[in-house]
Structures are given as structure tokens and as C-alpha cells.
Assembly symmetry: D2
Homo-oligomer: 218 residues x 4
């Protein structure tokens, strides 16, 4: 697999969602994220850069001062951060390099509020590795949209998190049929030992038989 | 609320997914669907038609004989039914009326493989009532996409089903933040007694305060 | 060039726009179309089928009886034909074969009211050959949209027509920068003699130098 | 007409396309633009700001250093400017105010490479006033796409320009059927005297009769 056809998409890993301030506001999530998820994200990012994968970051950010450009859903929920505010910055541990795309988004799926699909096509991406937060919201939505739009999807399970471990795990079960769910260590193992991303079972082969359950070959 | 601005979207309720043949192939799902979900769907459909809501059906259907037009994900899973085949027909209990739209789809979210968003905008729809199958796949995806694209979403919980009750319930928790989750009886009550669809808590008011958790006001 | 990666797109060649009834309603256009454009279209269609190109037809057709699903622009102009009406049928001279896609559209560009882009991606199309009517409206729009979305575009100049030859010619000048403009005879020549679609000048090579005028290499 | 439902869209008016450097590179265009088009653009911008219209600027700008994110068409033509370069800056005469959107684009129509449609919907825009360059390329494409997507379109004819007056005029004839084509003075007159944007002939009324020619009521 050509590394130039693979992208790592890091979803909403910014000060306003998982920065230091969250320690007091959402201590349960903060603990989980810092101890379990962030180290896995750092390993995944290092791996992707070493391979020469395209790295793309999304951040929740309004484009206007009053957030009138946000989706109705984000207005209704009070979600969104002012353009240029500290809350829209990717956390320092995962800071973007100079030529990595950082896409402001104001919806659940980046496919709905950014030009992500257009950009991926132009760059020539065929495989999308997804990680970030929250597993049951933007991650679930991103994985499903990417599958619908023709990308081969890998979701890095230990590099995602929800408000609780229970929600995180339930969400993985919810979108299991839309891609491969593997840990970062498995990604490293595939890249290191075999030099390619395909799973042992060759699950990307197009199945000839109809089956009702999308999970059938997962 | 103007009834002409509301649509009922019935997702994938066709012979190939929930028709009589499923009794032998997927007995667990078939029992749940026939006993619990189908009666609720029939009530919802009757209500919507009585109110003059736009009614839109989606069915999983390829447009080409060999299914080459399907999403990569559906090819990979072996999902899809030949154009014009019995499997693509809406089940008789929910059969479309003459001027109800029936949209063939070949992806998880109808927003990704049909002109649904364009059609809803042209018709003037602002509120989308979603029901059908499977709760953790196409329903979850449809609810999230509709919320992202500016529709006020109501999901009829008892008129949706997954492969198991556990998956069904877990999925509802997964997308609870993206719209209102109510039973068909509650829909009937709102329409009958109060003549409008808004919940008691006026939850559609745009919240002024930022909050991280999309579920905050759900 | 793999024939399976090329599609011929025939735009709006239906009874309601260029059928026999137009002889009395739009005699000028009808004469031009029947004498000049239709023979070229027939040759192009035969060529495409012989090569095994994907053939896709669009027809202007509402999906609802009152046309409420049409774009605001089509409502405003009174454009549109009832679903299933004779006016929505591709004219007999260009009648679709069994497995050729026929997409109902209700906007100027098929990319805006159908799932065309999604279908082309799934089928694996990289090159789009465009022909049909009207040169300055749907054809211009289709060529520009196809170029924006990453397809290599060939427009068959003699297989397109506008309300007048002057408008036809002016439109060709308008979108010349977005693709290759060739006659059907040139297409036949390329396919017959050289067996591929690329122009002599290798104009599809990606130019290294910035230039302001999109027409520069046309 | 509520001013908050109207936007002025200024297309590609940046250093790299119409800045001072163009005087030597494209003297013909530069003369036309500076003498005829720029004054009209400045009047239109002042009018829009006074009315409280949303003002949105697009600029041709790559998001990556090597432009790999551009459309295939822009790669092929060598079109595009590095992110952050002087060439991507809106010219000083039309400099954006603090809360005006500036959208980087890498395709002909801003609807194809930016989230413009999503943003307009969220902001609540129903009417789009279009001006900028080039009349036969991005302007024609933007007007047609906006009409397809349900916006009422006004194109300010004297605030647009092509490489030559002939191309400019031919393009106006090409897309005349997709919106209202008026001069900036007419816009000012409508806003000043009558306080609304609707033309005398009430041309936005939805026509009841089918007609083949989109130009019929233009």
C-alpha cells in the first residue's frame, strides 16, 4: 500500500475539548483521556509521520464571532469555539507540523462542514485511519461517512475515547461493520513487520455474496 | 409547526431486509421487528399521512445489474439488491402511496447516496422524523447527518430496531444528543392534544452557553 | 486508457426537450438539432457502446406530481416534467440499453440534483465524455462541475446544441478551459487508430507553472 | 427582504488575480478591471455593508505547500497560490472587515471546494449577490450553482470582468437565465428608493406554466 494513499485523521483533539482545563470540568473524561488515549494518539501520530502518511487534524471552531456559521445542531447545543481562540488549538502533545492540514469544523462529521472529501480525493487518499474524540459522536459519524464515500477505514480503538468507557465500548460495537477496528500496537506491528496495512484475513476483498448484516465479515 | 415543513423518513423497510423471508434467515430479528417495531411503524405512517407530512421511503437497491454503482463498503459487505427485484420493494404493510418519494440507496446514510438533502430543501422540510432499520447503522447515521445538515430531528424509538434489543438500546444512547428520541405514542399525543410537535421543554431554543457535551440538553 | 474508467454522459436528450413535438414549438432549434446534433450523438453513442464505456443518460424529470421536489430555479422558470410522462423519455434514436443508468434531474448540473458524482466514483470513472443540450446551460455547467470534481472532461462539440448556433459557439468559448473540446470524428479517430483517448499534445500532463488564465493550455 | 437573508459574494478579488502586478502581466485585463470593474465593486461592497448584508470573500489559495489539495483541473492548468502568500490576499481596495468570511478555494465554483453552501444555510441566506472575476469561468459557475442550490441570485454585471469585454459579455448571455443581471447603480436604486431588492416585474414569483427555455422570463 502506497503511503501517499493513506491519511491519519485526528478528530477534535484541541484545548477546548481535551486540554488542561478539562481536568476540573470533566475529571472523569480527563483522566481516561490523559492516561489511556493520549499516549496511543502520540504513538499513532509518530507512526503516521514516519511512514509519510498525510496527517489531517480537525478542530471544532466557528468561522464567525457569534457562531452564526455553525450547524443548527451546534447552535442548539451551545457547541462551538470562537475563531482564533485558544480553545480551537490542537493540544501541544499533538501539535500539527507546518504542512499538515488543520480543518475547522462546526458539525459532527467533518464530511458535512468541511471540504474533507474533496481534499482527500485531490490528494489521492484511499485509506483513512481515524482517531480522536468522542467515540460515540464525531468518531462514529466520521467512520460511517468515510465508509459511505469509498474510503477503506481503520479506526484506532485505543486512540479514541467517549465521556465514559461504557459509551466508548458501546460505540465501537455500533460502527464495527464500517471498517477495521484495531489498536495502535496492531497498526505498528503491521507497518513494522509486514510493511503494509492489510489485515491477515484480507478482509478488503470484495465479497461476492449478499448478506444482510454489515457486520458479517467484521 | 406547518405540517408541510415536516417529513417522515422510513428507512430501508423492504422485502430484502424485513420481509417474510427473514423469518427463517434471521428469526431473532424477525420476531422483534414483527411484534414490536412494525405496529409502531404503521401507527407512525398513519399519523404522518393524516397530518399531511411529506412521507419519504428509502430502499437499499442497486441501480445496475452487477451493483457496480454501490459504495465500496456495500461491495465489500456483499450488501445490495438488484434493481427492480422483489427485495427492493417496501413491505406491503408500509406500501408507499402514489406521490410518496421512494429513494433507492446504496450506502449507510441516505444523505450520501441519494439527493435527499436537495429534495428536502426544495420541498421546504425543516423537521425530519426518522424511523426504520437498523438502529445502530443506517438510523444512527441518518439521525446524525440530518442534525449536521440543519434539520430538527425526531427519532421514533419504538419504530426502529437493530439485530438485537441490546444493540438497539445501545445505539439510541449513542445518538441521543442529535435529536429528540420519543415513542410513537408521544408523537400522537403531541399532534392530537397540542397540535404541534414541540416538546414541553422547548428544547429547540438555541442555547446561549457553550457546553462540551452534545447530550447536555437531551 | 481502460474503457471501464470512461463514461459517456448524455444530457437531457428526451421527448420534452428535443422530441418530435419541438418541431412546431421551437422550429429553429429543432432543425439544428435534428440535422447537425442528433447524427453526431448517434455516432458517439455507438462508439461508446462498442468500446464498453459506461453510458449514462440524464433526463429532466420531477419526482413528485406537482414538482415540489424541483430546484427553486426550475420552479421559477416553470421547467420540469411530471414523473413517468412521455416528455421524460429519452428520444428513441438514443434509447438507453437495459443496464445503462438513466438519472432524473431537476437542476442545471446533474451533479447538484442526482447522485452522479457518487455513482461515477463507485463505478471507477476517471474520464467523462459530455454531450447533449443546451450548450450554454446544462452542458457548460456539467463540464465545469466535472472538472472541479476531478474528472478529465471531453466535450463533444458537434454533439451539443443551444437555442441558436451563436449561443452554442459562445458557450464553447466560455468553458474551453475546463476540458478538451473535440468533434465526434476526432473521438472516433483516436479510438480507432490509436486505441486511446489522449490528445496528441498530452494536455493532461500536470503543468508545473502557475498561470492565471485557465484557457492557457486549451 | 430581511438584510440578514442576503449575502454579497466577492469572488477571487486577490493580489494574484487582479493586484498591481497584473499591470505588466495582463495589461488588457488590468486596464479594464481597474477602470471599470473595481469602482463598481467598491460601491457594491459599501452598499452591502451599509445594509448589513453578510459579506463573503473567496480567494484562490492552496491549503498545502505543494498544492496537492487542489482540484485536478487546477493542477492541470497550473492554477493556485501557496497558502499565506501575498497572492492570496484580497486586494486592499476591497479588504475584508474583521467578521467577514474569507474562504480559500481551489476550484472554479466555490460550492465545489469550500463549505459555502453549508455556511449560507446556517447563516440563513436566501439571496446571493455575486460579483468578481472571471465572468465566463468562476462567476458563470457560481451563479449557476447558486441557482441550482435554491438561492435567489443577483449578478452585478459591471462588478464582474473576464479577460476581454467580448468574453465578459458573451458569458452574461450564457447565464442570463439563472438569475437577475443588474448594474450596481440599479442595486443602489432598489435599496435606496424602495428599500428592497425585488425587481419591478416581480420576477421571483414561481411561474405556473412549463417552458423549455430557462431564459424565458429573463
Amino acid at each position: 500500500m502506497d503511503p501517499r494513499r493513506t491519511a491519519l485523521l485526528l478528530v477534535d483533539l484541541q484545548e477546548g475539548t481535551c486540554g488542561a482545563e478539562q481536568a476540573s470540568q470533566r475529571p472523569g473524561f480527563h483522566g481516561l483521556f490523559r492516561q489511556r488515549t493520549l499516549p496511543a494518539l502520540q504513538r499513532a501520530l509518530a507512526l503516521a509521520r514516519r511512514q509519510g502518511f498525510e496527517v489531517i487534524h480537525t478542530v471544532i471552531a466557528n468561522l464567525t464571532a457569534d457562531g452564526r456559521d455553525r450547524s443548527l445542531d451546534y447552535k442548539r447545543c451551545g457547541m462551538g469555539f470562537p475563531p482564533g481562540s485558544a480553545q480551537t488549538r490542537v493540544i501541544a502533545e499533538l501539535a500539527p507540523l507546518a504542512d499538515e492540514l488543520v480543518l475547522p469544523k462546526s458539525s459532527s462529521s467533518p464530511f458535512n462542514s468541511t471540504a474533507l472529501d474533496y481534499l482527500l480525493r485531490n490528494i489521492g487518499i484511499e485509506r483513512l485511519i481515524v482517531a480522536g474524540i468522542l467515540t460515540d459522536q464525531c468518531i462514529d459519524h466520521t467512520v460511517k461517512d468515510a465508509a459511505d464515500r469509498g474510503y477503506r477505514v481503520i479506526c484506532l480503538t485505543d486512540a479514541c475515547m467517549a465521556e465514559s468507557l461504557e459509551r466508548h465500548q458501546a460505540a465501537l460495537d455500533c460502527f464495527r461493520g464500517y471498517g477495521e477496528l484495531i489498536a495502535v500496537a496492531e497498526l505498528a506491528e503491521r507497518l513494522g513487520r509486514r510493511g503494509n496495512l492489510d489485515g491477515a484475513a484480507q478482509r478488503d476483498a470484495v465479497a461476492p455474496q449478499p448478506s444482510l448484516n454489515q457486520d458479517a465479515d467484521a
